[in-house]
Amino acid sequence: MPVTELNGHQVHIDDEGFLTQFAEWDEDLGKVLAAQIGIALTEAHWKVIRFLRQDFTTQGVTATARRVQTVGGVPVKEQFVLFPKKPAKKMAYIAGLPKPQGCV
């Protein structure tokens, strides 16, 4: 598991670059991760990121786009606008979570 330095902190990442330790993430790091994939975070983005973080603590897995809509209250259409092309993976990356495993 490689360790890399982001925003002055050493963090663990997997071989694609997703953070692997839940506790190593904070909101400042979220901004850095978002900037790396060309996304400037607005309050609408933060609503999704905070939901994903909170949901992970109770579910133990990353919410899928479907769950972000039905439980998090952010419609799939909006997710595609906020995190273009590959919303589920981009949301997880910025939130410092593993890629979602669910199919739907």
């Binding site: 360790v3 799939v76 590959k86």
Partner: protein, 179 residues
């Protein structure tokens, strides 16, 4: 002994943002049984989530998935399905019992519950999500003519009733999935 190693270089996942979005998927949905409606929808939803342009063509029995009066009432029958198991272990449902009265209703209810338990939406909701994610729905001209149906009988987000030739034309260069 302590060793210090320099941190690995920053690694950013490749989300293919730089490449032209030229990957396309065409899915032909030809079945109207509840269990056979899902594979196409799941693949379509997955493809859209990966940034793949996705077009679905509904034909023959698959037409029921987009007919307003039928789309909420797709059914699953164990008849003719040798892979149908009882909820206990690996026991098969004897095929002689499959056509019994009420069996389709029971099997449909069970399948719907199993799907709902996974957080997977019902077919009409699932198509809503696919359209919201940028998917395109098309209806087959011949199926519409056979069923004497027009666009008013179909979901409002079906983009049109088109011929097979038109669909082939629209999906030039796409990967194709027939279900």
């Amino acid at each position: 002994m302590t060793t210090t190693t320099a941190p690995a270089p920053v690694l950013v996942p490749n989300f293919d943002d730089d490449t032209e979005a030229d990957r396309k998927l065409a899915i032909i949905c030809s079945k109207g049984n509840l269990d056979m409606a899902y594979p196409g929808l799941i693949m379509a939803n997955a493809a859209l989530g990966e940034g793949v342009e996705t077009m679905i063509f509904f034909t023959f029995w698959g037409f029921d998935m987009i007919i307003k009066s039928r789309m909420n009432d797709l059914q699953f029958s164990p008849a003719g399905n040798a892979a149908m198991h009882l909820p206990i272990g690996d026991m098969h449902l004897p095929q002689s019992l499959a056509p019994m009265p009420g069996m389709t209703a029971v099997a449909t209810k069970m399948l719907k519950k199993q799907i709902a338990d996974l957080g997977v939406p019902e077919v009409p909701d699932f198509l809503d999500q696919i359209v919201a994610a940028g998917g395109h729905l098309w209806a087959c001209r011949m199926s519409a003519d056979m069923n004497k149906l027009t666009e008013t009988d179909l979901r409002d987000d079906v983009e049109g009733i088109i011929s097979a030739a038109d669909f082939i034309d629209k999906t030039a260069g796409a990967q194709l999935l027939f279900i």
